[in-house]
């Protein structure tokens, strides 16, 4: 864990310092400091409502922090968005897509908005559609896609401009196991090639298998961060997470919830 007063790390892919965000009278994120090392596959885990999405929104320019700074590879995101945003690829959670476009059109749109030229967009779009197994559905309107397909086309859109840092909020949610394995392989290749990936998830097992680094966030704070092996310290990540976050119920009670018992 970083010391609160440490200056932002210019070498880090993402360096968050003292991030705060309040919604009404609920403080969603209270003083998050986090360094995501360049070239890491970084997992952000936390219970529901821990502030993962809020923190990632602030780290990607989607939500203005009340306090704190975000540096992307040394560039201050909120001071110089025009320089920092091209470095980032973002898959936000819980937002719509321009779903009246077909899959191919949406990818083209994402690429052109990033200022790519037509040939590059066409070539990369083709590659991404193939990688995401969406070639057959390229001409279908995204509004008629299934939840998993929607996630995949959004992910493809986040990658088309070959960002240095990919920030993905719940990328594996609703995605079938085969596609999830394909996506993990794509992301792993991307990390091997020098890119940085940040994913949020609450599937501990997936994070333990896939990520090199992890941060555990709860109640708007970072409880622990570091390499996966350092954080879990010999336990499984899940046990470590439960021990840190707490709130595990002893599995007593609910004796009536048995098919043999009376329904009354």
């Amino acid at each position: 864990m970083t010391h609160p007063t440490a200056p932002p790390d210019p070498a880090a892919a993402l360096s968050l310092r003292g991030l705060w965000r309040r919604f009404g009278d609920k403080i969603a994120v209270s003083g998050v400091d986090l360094d995501v090392p360049a070239g890491s596959f970084f997992g952000l885990v936390g219970p529901n409502g821990a502030g993962k999405t809020t923190a990632l929104s602030m780290a990607t320019g989607l939500l203005r922090p009340d306090f704190g700074t975000v540096h992307v590879l040394g560039t201050d995101l909120w001071a110089r968005p025009d320089e920092a945003k091209p470095l980032l690829g973002v898959l936000p959670d819980g937002v719509r897509l321009f779903d009246r476009l077909t899959g191919a059109q949406l990818l083209t749109y994402s690429g052109l908005l990033r200022g790519l030229d037509r040939d590059t967009v066409a070539r990369r779009g083709e590659d991404l559609l193939r990688a995401m197994d969406l070639l057959a559905d390229r001409d279908t309107l995204v509004v008629d896609y299934s939840a998993g397909m929607t996630k995949k086309i959004a992910l493809a859109g986040a990658m088309i401009h070959a960002p240095r840092v990919l920030v993905l909020d719940e990328p594996f949610e609703a995605v079938d196991p085969v596609s999830a394995a394909n996506i993990r392989a794509i992301l792993q290749r991307y990390v091997d090639g020098g890119g940085t990936v940040v994913v949020s998830s609450h599937v501990m097992d997936l994070v333990q298998r896939t990520c090199s680094h992890v941060a555990i966030i709860a109640g708007g704070h970072v409880l622990d961060a570091g390499t996966v092996d350092a954080v879990r310290g010999g336990q499984s990540l899940e046990d470590r997470f439960v021990a840190l976050v707490g709130g595990r119920q002893e599995s007593g009670g609910l004796e009536w919830l048995r098919t043999s018992s009376d329904s009354g």
Binding site: L113, R114, D139
Partner: protein
Amino acid sequence: MVAHLVRLRLTLLGNTLRRSVWQAVGLVVATLYGLSVVTLAVTAAVAGGLADPVVTGQVLTVAGSAVVVAWWVVPLFAFGLDSTLDPQRFAPLAIPRRRLLAGLAVAALVSVPALVTVLGAVGVAFAWVTDPAAVAAALLSAAVAVALCVLGARAVTTLLAPLLDSRRHREVLMVAAVVPLLAVGPFFAWVTSPTRGDGGEVTVSGPGDLVPAVVAPAAELLAWTPLGAPWALPGAVHDGAWGLAAARLGIAVGALVLLVVVWDRALARALVAPRGGRAGGTARGLGWFGRLPATPTGAVAARCATYWVRDPRYATTLALVPLLPAVAVVLGLTTGAGAGLLLLAAPVVAFLLGFAVSDDVGYDSTAFALHVASGVPGRADRWGRALPVLVVGVPLVVALAVVGAAVADRWVALPAVLGLALGVLGAALGTSSVASARLVYPVPKPGQSAFSTPQGATTATVVAQMAAFAVIAALTLPTTALAVAAVLLASVPLSLAAAGVGVATATAAVVVGVRWGARVYERRLPELLAQVRSFA
């Protein structure tokens, strides 16, 4: 069950209000508006009843029928407006259908429109204050009428729910809905035309001299339909025509029973038939994305052009364009205003097109996150949204102006009409470019009906739209003044002056509006996203 569902309804309402002040304000405004309408109606009815009970009874029958029709038809176009009592949501709960039916029926009464209808129906009963028997009959028929309204709305929506489940059907219906809406004006004009040949262009007027000619036969006819029967019942009692009164009561109650049966059947089907399973829409190739320049501006323009056709919320506006001149012709011919009314078509269409993008970011909803994450430059975003409107709008309004002038045979007016139409288009578009970056208000979400207004959005929407209206009116004031003078005086120099001022206004408004809008946009980018997120 009844108590449960009513409590559920009230809790949902309470929670919505707690989420946002605007929602609370909107509800209060809607209630006050409804109450003022009721007060006016009741006052008019009581005053009329004292003066002439027969005519008042006829007017009440016609007006009441209109209320019932509105209850039955509006929910179809405004589906998604209120799905808190969607029967599908109760499917897993295994509630006996009879009890669910009763509960849903009573809970449906807990809404502002229902409250207003109940108060109005009870209030107008006192139009018969001089005749206690008629008042009693009127109170009975008020209960029946309200039941007809509420049950009819539920029956129609539940019955047609499978149809509305298909995205395509829904969207076609939404766009088609503008036809009956627009037809209302010409219909009244046509109905009233025999009595008014004096060139008035007011289509819906008070119950003055047209009562004998129009309202009486209409009321006579409607009284024999379930729409008007309950409202006509007190009149029959007042006249002492007991047989007639019994017949009308029979029609109303019979219709009520029929509605319950239909609803019950539809509900039974809805509770066991799962939704979904439909073919997806497709479009080959890249469409506009392949044709427009491969720049962020071109991309935004291509996306907007695609949406103008594919998103019913935009397509509805486009569908209005060919209809408006038709309405103008019918109105002009029937009211005696003549084909001169057609001259107005071009400026009105110009306004519709320019104003349609005044809440473009609201229409994007949270999909706007893509623009924020990509850091799309303000200029690219604003020009991209404005260009399709200009490219389609300019030739369109020019053509409409020329056709209008030709049909009306008023060539002197052509430059003035052209100037006014282009001026309005430019002013509306420039204002929209700033407004959509500054005054975002809740609109129907993607996939919802263009006619559903998010409840509680009312006040914010009205404030934002009024502000935009005022600016557009101020910007086009010089052009309007010159154009009106030119048309009235048939003056060629004035007409040419209007054209010049109009084009200059349009150019300046678009250029300044887009630049200013781009600055506001870049400053407020994350705040814009936060705003549309709060509506979602």
